[in-house]
């Protein structure tokens, strides 16, 4: 179903949404565009390439309490955390919506991660189609598109005098006001993106595990966690207890496979000790382990990692390097 909303219509609708639920939307913070719960509709930024961090943080927050431990007269009660509000993530790009769909793989598989599941079911996704491709974008190479409807509840496409509103799911439909006119016009042409060859990347990767490529790439890698934290599909986490004045909270926080203690066991054993092995783990998780488990490559082509990397390690380049290496191997 396609509707049309003028800018005023849209603002009105957002005002009413804000009365009923938390609205998470792109806002400007010190020069950065970030997804944050807003208090006023005017805070929302409509004109942006993509946000610094992906909206995954709404579903898997950088830090959250899993449960708390209450002690009373020798009795111990484990108090679960609850998701108390309905929400809408407004203005996310189709690639990021796909990122959330990919995170559903690990988090909704049995037994499902209840905090994630609750947030997911109580949050509607209102996407904003891209009318311009950024230099870092390669979503079409990764199974998505600037106007991809697949993973949002509603997709907005900006046109000259307002927005085309594509209603994708029942959840989206329930969110909309009555009275918006049907849109009968044509859809604008989405921006064209440069594609990278991704054919058979999974099998290419499998063959190159022991290639010296990884140690060479790791030469310039700083082993910071930027790529993992800006990525819409990186989801590794750490869990630890926080005791404070008799109360204990079990907390989880984002963690990255580039951290030195990531795979180090208490016994002192670490399957990945070199920098190359650690860097390889990140790409293998995306390009091999994730597809083997969840049938899709764990990258949506948002390009954040390559853009944010201080030394320009770019997954696009890695993918094409791997394919060249494979070709060179089969050629020789």
């Amino acid at each position: 179903m396609k509707l049309f909303a003028s800018r005023d219509d849209l603002i009105c609708w957002l005002e009413s949404l804000l009365q009923q639920r938390i609205v998470v939307a792109p806002v400007r913070v010190e020069g950065q565009t970030m997804f944050q719960p807003i208090s006023k509709v005017e805070e929302i930024i409509f004109d942006f390439g993509n946000t610094t961090l992906s909206p995954k943080g709404w579903f898997l927050p950088p830090t959250e309490t899993l449960f708390s431990v209450r002690r009373d007269d020798g009795q111990v009660e484990l108090v679960p955390m609850l998701v108390e509000h309905d929400a809408v993530v407004f203005g996310l790009r189709p690639c990021d919506a796909r990122g959330i769909a990919l995170m559903d793989g690990p988090f909704l598989q049995e037994p499902s991660d209840t905090l994630y599941q609750e947030r997911r079911s109580r949050t509607a996704l209102v996407g904003l189609a891209c009318h311009q491709a950024q230099p870092e974008c390669f979503c079409t190479s990764m199974g998505s598109a600037p106007d991809d409807l697949s993973h949002v509840d509603i997709l907005l496409t900006e046109v000259e005098d307002g927005y085309i509103v594509q209603v994708v799911t029942e959840k989206g439909k329930a969110l909309l006001p009555k009275g918006w006119a049907k849109y009968k016009g044509k859809m604008p042409t989405p921006p064209q993106l440069k594609t990278i060859p991704t054919k058979e990347i999974v099998s290419a990767v499998r063959e190159l595990f022991n290639d010296p490529y990884w140690e060479r790439l790791a030469d310039r890698c700083l082993h910071c966690n930027i790529c993992a934290y800006v990525c819409p599909t990186c989801y590794c986490f750490d869990v630890r207890d926080y005791p404070d004045k008799g109360k204990v909270e079990r907390v989880r926080s984002w963690e990255s496979c580039q951290s030195p203690g990531f795979s180090l066991t208490a016994g002192g054993y670490d399957p990945r000790t070199t920098k190359g092995e650690r860097l390889r783990q990140r790409f293998y998780h995306k390009l091999l382990y994730f597809p083997e488990r969840f049938q899709e490559v764990g990258c949506v082509g948002c390009g954040r990692c390559g853009k944010a990397c201080p030394v320009n390690i770019d997954i696009r380049e890695v993918i094409s390097d791997l394919q060249q290496l494979t070709e060179a191997r089969s050629g020789s």
Binding site: V29, N225, S253, G261
Partner: protein
């Protein structure tokens, strides 16, 4: 200077760097050369490791070469490496020599003259010089084995710390608010640490488990502890390459912390890091007779 003249000079310097690197590799003086190559955007640059003489053709040098390559020497201990070093980066060499992290005779320093570097982001090259370059007093590296390029004759501005002084004039509460807002954005990616040539503890205090000093919560109170202690570990050691601020994905103005400490270290101990490989940093030494502010 016209655009044409500028790129001509650049090409000459780049050729010199390539020739030197080829030479060093072919003669077996070093096992590898750490320099710069063009980044994937075709516009900016990124660190590059050349291990054979054919790879040296990828080496470049221009106003986008902001990275401090000295950091990488810490990963290549025991190996004979050559490294391309700008005047500012050479202070990091002095720091690491002073702290016995680098063996002078294993490192071949390809010093380059530098007209200053610009603000860059991926696929974006700024027009103006970085602030640190505008006040850079060095016309050539402080330490080198070979110096390539012409010594710069650019007139540097004086570092007046005007932004720091402005902050100092504010109330404590205003400053607290400012830094709380800044630190609340920190996502603890540790890029500031990973890029810093002065950060090389085998186990960082942020990762020590017993006792656990910094919790895993990515939240203001932990972020504040992390950023405060990290910058203070660099007091009298920070050489001002400002890489930490450049790499910060959420744009925390870390130079306001590092330069505050630099300013106070100058005032209290008359010391600036990385200028002299022999002179110990302020916390490695003391003067018996000195009277510091709280004693007066």
């Amino acid at each position: 200077m016209g655009q044409g003249a500028k790129s001509e000079m650049d090409m000459e310097l780049i050729q010199q760097i390539r020739d030197k690197a080829r030479n060093l590799l072919q003669e077996g003086t070093v096992e590898g050369v750490i320099g710069y190559e063009r980044a994937g955007d075709g516009l900016t640059s990124r660190p590059f490791f050349a291990y054979d003489s054919s790879a040296v053709e990828r080496l470049v040098f221009d106003e986008t070469c902001t990275h401090n390559l000295v950091k990488y020497l810490l990963n290549k201990k025991g190996k004979r490496m050559a490294v391309v070093v700008k005047p500012c980066d050479s202070r990091a060499i002095n720091l690491l020599l002073n702290e016995k992290q680098v063996e002078r005779d294993r490192v071949f320093i390809i010093g380059v003259s530098c007209p200053g570097v610009v603000e860059t982001n991926w696929s974006h090259k700024g027009e103006t010089l970085q602030a640190r370059c505008r006040s850079c007093q060095l016309t050539k590296p402080l330490v080198y084995d070979v110096l390539l390029g012409r010594e710069t004759s650019r007139k540097a501005e004086e570092e007046t710390y005007s932004d720091i002084r402005e902050a100092e004039a504010e109330s404590v509460a205003t400053r607290r608010e400012f830094w709380q807002e800044q630190f609340s954005r920190c996502i603890r990616c540790y890029a500031c640490r990973q890029v810093c040539p002065g950060c090389y503890c085998p186990v960082c205090f942020a990762e020590r488990l017993e006792p656990l000093w910094v919790g895993i919560r990515i939240a203001p109170e932990e972020n504040t502890l992390w950023q405060t202690v990290r910058t203070f570990h660099l007091a009298g050691r920070c050489i001002g390459c400002n890489e930490c601020e450049r790499v910060c994905p959420v744009d925390i103005p870390l130079s306001l912390l590092n330069r505050k400490l630099e300013k106070d270290v100058k005032r209290l101990f008359a010391f600036q890091a990385g200028l002299d490989p022999e002179e110990p940093p302020p916390f490695a030494t003391f003067k018996k007779e000195e009277m510091l502010e709280f004693e007066k």
